[in-house]
């Protein structure tokens, strides 16, 4: 039932009503609203009950193992939430004067320093509000760099075919053409193809390493050389940073600019889709172009730098300073981990992934890159099962839900057919991984013995499999009063 269906005309939640005041008479009638908006008229209890019950229809890290590849669904420490929601932080207006901002700015400054260290970059801006905006900032800086040097012919960005969709989409938003670079049979970038593709038109290459294929790009130094020699810059998509935190630093691999997904590697919550935070780090040559605001320390005082301080900046990416409350959570997380904790993230994320990979292999699953180590994630291909048993990766995914596990990422990356991209993360136990492997084995057996069970899964969730085609064909995006009630 929708919240609107709980509503009754004239029902008012009195505890939330400010006293009625008169005096909007100075607003000309033509500018005033004529009909009330369709907001629900419900009691506070109805609201609380409705949304509490809705929440229970979700899987979440707090309720289920969530091995969603590329998404790094690890434990979001509760302290990060509690401490970012302290009254002093919540009450701070974004335009508060410096004298009333030193506590907050100290956290932000120190976070910048921490991120510089883990990435091996020279400077960091916390401005971008998610990974994709970090990518945008990065590519815009690359463009600003070429422009500043009068190098105007570079209109093409290279992107491996395994890349996340945001990479090509970002390049286009920055006014670039995209050229895809193929992947070789081992999951590495096809170096010959790259060499053939680079040229004076190359603005840069966007790469994530480890790649979204769950393997580490071994020839990263050669790639870096190739691109740099052609005059391009190297962009690092930091979505997979969890795999190498404290092990290898993108700056040391030769990247010029990087974004981080704090909502992945720094364990800020995903919130059912967001918010995130996508800080960017750059090496020396891109520092002038970093997006504003940035936090500077001047003696004992912290202050925000803006366009006036950084005349070559690519500019602002938001009205204020990005997702500040998320940055606070990441800061708390970083302080909890500390130096040693950072080093261990990649160690145990990698241990879990490799362990799960070999266990699944033992149970008869095909790995996309059986010769390779897993990084923090790896790919299983169900191509054989799809062909022989008619049971798709999607069917596996849905059936996993029945067995109490969130599904891995399906059908991404696009180049591996019927794939599951699986990322257990470092915060899960061996027992949980073992249970997941058992569940996968059970489904494989079901796919043989009772394929209908798998193909019509899920069976135990609030709804059965949903009709996506109908959703797109018969668009129903907002509720209208008078529609039939439903459950």
């Amino acid at each position: 039932m929708l919240i609107f269906e709980h509503a009754r005309p004239g029902r008012v939640n009195h505890a939330q009503q400010p006293p009625r005041v008169d005096g909007i008479d100075d607003i000309p009638p033509a500018l005033r609203r004529k009909r009330r908006p369709l907001l629900p008229e419900v009691s506070e209890l109805q609201t609380v009950r409705h949304y509490t019950r809705l929440s229970q229809k979700n899987f979440a890290i707090d309720t289920h193992f969530y091995p969603l590849g590329s998404c790094t669904m690890k434990y979001n420490p509760r302290a990060c939430n509690t401490l970012a929601m302290l009254e002093g932080f919540l009450a701070r207006h974004p335009a508060a004067p410096d004298a009333l901002s030193q506590g907050f700015l100290a956290c932000m400054y120190e976070l910048q320093e921490i991120l510089k260290d883990v990435t091996g970059m020279q400077a960091v801006s916390l401005a971008p509000m998610a990974g994709a905006q970090g990518e945008f900032a990065g590519m815009a800086m690359i463009r600003a760099y070429h422009d500043a040097r009068g190098d105007h012919g570079r209109n093409e960005v290279l992107v491996p075919d395994a890349a996340h969709g945001t990479n090509p989409a970002t390049a286009v938003m920055c006014g670039y053409k995209v050229r895809e670079i193929p992947t070789d049979a081992n999951g590495d970038v096809d170096l010959a193809a790259l060499e053939a593709a680079v040229g004076p038109q190359t603005a840069g290459l966007m790469l994530t390493n480890p790649s979204t294929l769950g393997v580490f790009e071994r020839r990263i130094q050669a790639i870096s050389r190739t691109v740099h020699e052609a005059g391009g810059l190297l962009y690092y998509d930091g979505a997979n940073l969890n795999a190498i935190l404290g092990e290898v630093r993108p700056g040391d691999m030769g990247f010029d600019v990087i974004h981080m997904n704090l909502h992945k590697t720094f364990s800020t919550p995903h919130g059912g889709g967001g918010p995130g935070a996508g800080p960017v780090g750059v090496n020396q040559r891109l520092v002038p172009y970093l997006p504003v605001p940035r936090v500077a320390r001047e003696g004992e005082r912290y202050r925000l730098l803006d366009q006036r301080d950084c005349p070559e900046t690519i500019g602002r990416l938001s009205a204020f300073m990005g997702n500040a409350g998320i940055l606070l959570r990441a800061y708390v997380y970083a302080r909890l981990l500390g130096r040693e904790g950072m080093h261990r993230v990649a160690d145990f994320a990698t241990l879990n992934a490799n362990y799960m990979m070999v266990e699944l292999k033992k149970r008869g699953f095909d790995l996309a890159y059986p010769q390779r180590r897993a990084t923090h994630e790896f790919i299983v291909s169900l191509k054989k099962q799809a062909k022989e048993l008619g049971v798709s990766a999607m069917d596996f995914a849905k059936r996993l839900l029945d067995l109490g596990f969130h599904a891995p990422t399906t059908y991404f990356p696009l180049l591996v057919p019927e794939c599951l991209l699986i990322e257990p993360t470092e915060t899960e136990t061996k027992e949980e991984i073992d249970a997941f492997v058992e569940a996968m084995a059970q489904i494989l057996a079901e796919a043989r013995d009772e394929p209908e069970t798998v193909k019509t899964a899920p069976h135990t969730l609030p709804v059965k499999r949903l009709d996506d085609v109908r959703a797109a064909r018969q668009l129903d995006l907002v509720w209208r009063p008078g529609e039939q009630e439903h459950d």
Partner: protein
């Protein structure tokens, strides 16, 4: 090893299963010369008790000042239920609802949110959020350029009464695609875009942006502006404060045909000030433009048994399907804030929202009366929503600094963005302000201005 559950026995068993001697061996594909040394700038780990102490001290250092600043971020009462529910693990720690069957909670919340926002803006559809109001405006501009079939122009008319940071953000985001923002100046005593001042022959342009209320808190002549734009083949992008829409004509009803796109920042709907974020951008549009709308959209459909359910839809607009041809690169959005806003709107209802908006309006008017008594006049004469630019006899930055010393955020200094106005503050008094608060503010301000000459305010 905070948050890592492995026991020594686990590690041993796992390495044995893998056939690796130690964890380091798992990184053997990484060229040895790349292996990093110990991190340096990162302090030792603290336990939660220690970090809590640190954060409490820092939060306390910034205090909870009495805030008269607005400028796109407004202090409103937030019912306790909003965040007690929003931070429930099932909302807080869920991912994007790609597995619809395991995400009906989040999906239904978004569907309800879309319904509320569409109704609030008077438009047909809403997406599931963008990053913030400023970046939402940028997306609206890109959308308008794509969607305007009458014009192939990449020119956008952008009033100077639009929030300066919104204009800057939009410029950052759209200029790389060769889109230019052409500024329209405002009426010096009205503080609005005077429809009479609009060029009769504006040339080809893709869209006109109309802020309501505008950055100065002033109400624009939205009907005339909308009709003017449409009559020149341009689309209309409304930038609105959703709280104000409880009182003001919704974009979908502006002029003869209504605005085409409405965007804005959802912060006033239950989101704490929190240093500027996370907030959320909203974007609504007419049905005809839905396939150009960026960001996620939730649709209602049915399951195998014919029962209703919710799912992400029209994904062919998005980067993960369409890649370089997507309507935007946005992926992670501001989902949790959408949950909070949906709860907020549900708790307030239409009456609560209308009363809140009216109380803000009234408090700001009362504040302006009090400031007049100090000899401080609003710079603009036209009706306003809940914010006003007020002229000062001296440097606003100094006033702001002095009042900060008394735990008051005095407002926003307009010097950098609107030097032509002379010393001026943008002030705002929302429904949270009592008579005593207004008194405290005017008293402190009077004292500061009186002290003129003696010390730097």
């Amino acid at each position: 090893m905070p948050f890592i559950p492995h026991t020594p026995a686990d590690i041993e068993a796992m390495l044995e299963a893998i056939g690796a001697p130690d964890i380091d061996a798992l990184f053997d594909e990484i060229p040895a010369e790349l292996k990093s040394e110990a991190l340096r700038a990162i302090p030792d780990g603290l336990n939660e008790m220690q970090v809590a102490r640190l954060m409490r001290e820092r939060a306390a250092r910034d205090g909870t000042p009495l805030c008269f600043a607005g400028g796109g971020a407004y202090e409103h009462h937030i019912p306790a239920a909003v965040w007690e529910l929003t931070t429930r693990g099932e909302f807080y720690s869920a991912y994007t609802p790609y597995q619809a069957e395991a995400s009906q909670g989040t999906l239904q919340v978004i569907y309800e949110y879309q319904t509320m926002m569409a109704s609030l803006t008077g438009l047909d559809v809403s997406n599931a959020s963008l990053y913030d109001g400023a970046s939402a405006l940028a997306e609206a501009v890109l959308m308008a350029v794509r969607a305007n079939r009458k014009s192939k122009s990449r020119r956008i008319l952008m009033p100077r009464t639009v929030h300066p940071a919104y204009r800057q953000t939009t410029d950052t985001i759209v200029r790389n695609q060769g889109i230019s923002l052409e500024l329209l100046d405002y009426h010096r005593t009205g503080g609005h875009i005077d429809p009479a001042s609009l060029p009769a022959q504006p040339g080809d342009f893709a869209a006109l942006v109309i802020p309501q209320p505008n950055f100065f808190g002033v109400l624009e002549e939205v009907d005339a502006l909308t009709d003017w734009a449409h009559s020149h083949g341009a689309l209309v992008i409304a930038v609105v404060n959703p709280m104000s829409l409880a009182l003001l004509s919704p974009p979908g009803e502006w002029g003869q045909q209504g605005a085409d796109i409405a965007v804005g920042d959802g912060q006033p709907l239950g989101i704490p000030l929190s240093s500027g974020g996370p907030y959320f951008g909203f974007a609504c549009c007419k049905q005809a433009l839905v396939r150009q709308l960026p960001g996620r959209i939730v649709g209602r459909t049915v399951d195998l048994d014919g029962r209703p359910g919710f799912t992400l839809t029209l994904q062919a607009r998005e980067q993960h399907i369409r890649r370089s041809k997507a309507t935007s690169n946005i992926c992670t959005n501001q989902g949790l804030l959408v949950t909070a806003a949906t709860l907020y709107m549900s708790l307030m209802g239409p009456e609560g929202l209308a009363r809140t908006a009216a109380a803000c309006h009234r408090n700001t008017r009362v504040l302006l009366e009090r400031l007049k008594a100090l000899g401080l006049e609003p710079l603009f004469q036209r009706p306003l929503f809940h914010e006003a630019a007020v002229g000062l006899p001296r440097n606003a930055a100094e006033v702001v600094e002095t009042l900060a010393g008394e735990g008051i955020v005095a407002g926003i200094d307009l010097a950098a963005d609107y030097p032509e106005l002379g010393p001026a503050l943008l002030v705002c008094a929302t429904e949270t302000k009592t008579e005593a608060d207004l008194e405290r503010y005017t008293h402190a301000l009077a004292a500061c201005l009186d002290a003129e000459g003696e010390r730097p305010c």
